[in-house]
Amino acid sequence: MGRIDPFFFSRPSAIIVDFVVLFSSKEIFPHLGVTLYATLMGLFLGSSSGLVLAFILGRFQFLERVLDPIIFGLYGIPKLALGPLFILWFGLGIESKIFLSFIWVFFVMYFNAYGGFKDVDYRLVNSVRLMGANEFQVITKVVFPSSLPWILTGLKSGVGVALLGTIVGEYIGSSVGLGNMVMYAGNMFNTTRVFSSILAMTLIMIFLNEIVEFLEKRLLRWRVKSF
């Protein structure tokens, strides 16, 4: 009692050793590469389409009234349940993972960016209009800079769900990738490997998050830190 069973939890030293071996034997690289690629693709496609749709719906009230409830309804579908469907549609290859990741990121970015576009202060828009700004200038000089904090928040949460979508996709059915590695190790009762794979995912997460935070620091210098 009071002792942690290494069968279930492994030992930190064993995990570190396994982690190093994974790299020195180059065994992890194909998995890492595929997962990273699918994550970044999902992130890119999901955030750009979420951003574009949010922008369009923000501009056209009619589309907004029609589509926003539909998008919200679709958002309610558990993405996890869609995984097997996507694998059926796109096969066991990387496409199904990218798609799952894309869908997940899309919603996250859509809701954030939409909030951002709706939050633009009309008084600031008027002030540049009065200075002679055309529609395009209003968008580039007010709408986007004003929504940027929201968009970056969307990107930040997007990073998390992009990786999640990819891993879940790989877990459901794949031959390669970190999700596949975890599943395989789990089936083999190789707890150490499960944890070293999780460590690898955590590091990817930290790495991607650092990039977004760097962007945030550069782009949002004008914001006051309230806490």
Binding site: L124, N126, S127, L130, G132, K141, P145, W222, R223
Partner: protein, 277 residues
């Protein structure tokens, strides 16, 4: 027809004319608030005109109509004798709310009008820098709006408009949120600017002392639905100083006269507000 043409030509000597402006806002599907009722007045070129009226009577709405941010339900605005149909950079509008873009530093905020016009970066920054220096804000070029005080932001709002060199400047209660000392300082700043560039200025305030200090003429608006109640010419000598002017006997006298006139309107607004609750 002939009468219309004659009217149009007589209007040409005015910089700005408002003819029969009326406006209501839809508060809901069924209810609407009548804000302006049959407003008529003219503004002369180079004139410093102050509009004064009780809170909520429709002063900002009137300026929004005069700048074409809002299309009035009824009536016509003429600029240089021609109907105003679009927003124009002939008018510089210092609005009631802060209008500096929070993500731009001071110099880029001041230069925004020139940037929109397509003036090159070096040139517009040079001009902005000059204006910043003259407004006593040098050293803050790289500061963001949230790093500036209220008085500094208001000055920035004003020079931002001066940068595009408009023919007419609208100012909507620019100093109402500031303390007395800052306000007097900025009043002198406005008096100096006006003395120098001599543009047409339309200045909204609900501070009577401020209106008398600055203006050539004061129009008094009634409580909602607002109309022009009366007009006062202020013949105090220029150049003026916001501090010294308060002790002129003529100042005190005119203050008293207008105050009696204004008092009635404020009483009406007060009653109106009570009825709402």
């Amino acid at each position: 027809m002939f009468i219309l043409i004659m009217l149009a030509s007589t209007n040409e000597k005015y910089k700005f004319s408002l003819n029969n402006i009326s406006h209501s806002f839809n508060a809901s599907q069924v209810e609407s608030i009548e804000v302006l009722r049959n407003i008529n007045f003219n503004v002369y070129e180079h004139e410093f005109l102050a509009l004064i009226g009780p809170s909520g009577c429709g002063k900002s709405t009137l300026l929004n109509i005069m700048s074409r941010l809002i299309t009035p339900n009824y009536g016509e605005v003429l600029l240089d004798g021609r109907p105003l149909r679009y927003i124009t950079t002939k008018i510089g509008y210092v609005s009631q709310a802060d209008s500096l873009l929070p993500w731009r530093n001071l110099i880029d905020n001041v230069a925004i009008g020139l940037e929109i016009k397509g003036v090159g970066k070096r040139e517009r920054r040079k001009k902005a820098k000059e204006l910043i220096a003259r407004a006593g804000l040098e050293g803050f070029e790289k500061s963001y709006p949230n790093e500036l005080s209220g008085g500094m932001r208001k000055r920035a709002d004003i020079i931002k408009v001066l940068a595009i060199d408009p023919e007419i400047i609208f100012m909507d209660e620019p100093f109402s949120a500031l303390d007395v000392f800052t306000r007097q300082m900025l009043q002198d700043y406005i008096l100096d600017i006006w003395q120098e560039i001599h543009k047409t200025i339309i200045f909204i305030t609900h501070d009577l002392t401020e209106a008398i200090t600055l203006a050539d003429r004061i129009l008094l608006m009634t409580a909602r639905p607002a109309t022009i109640k009366s007009e006062y010419n202020i013949n105090l000598p220029r150049p003026r100083s916001s501090f010294d002017i308060m002790f002129e006997p003529q100042f005190i006298e005119i203050h008293k006269t207008i105050w009696n006139d204004l008092k009635e309107e404020i009483a009406i607004t007060g009653e109106g507000d009570n009825q709402n609750f």
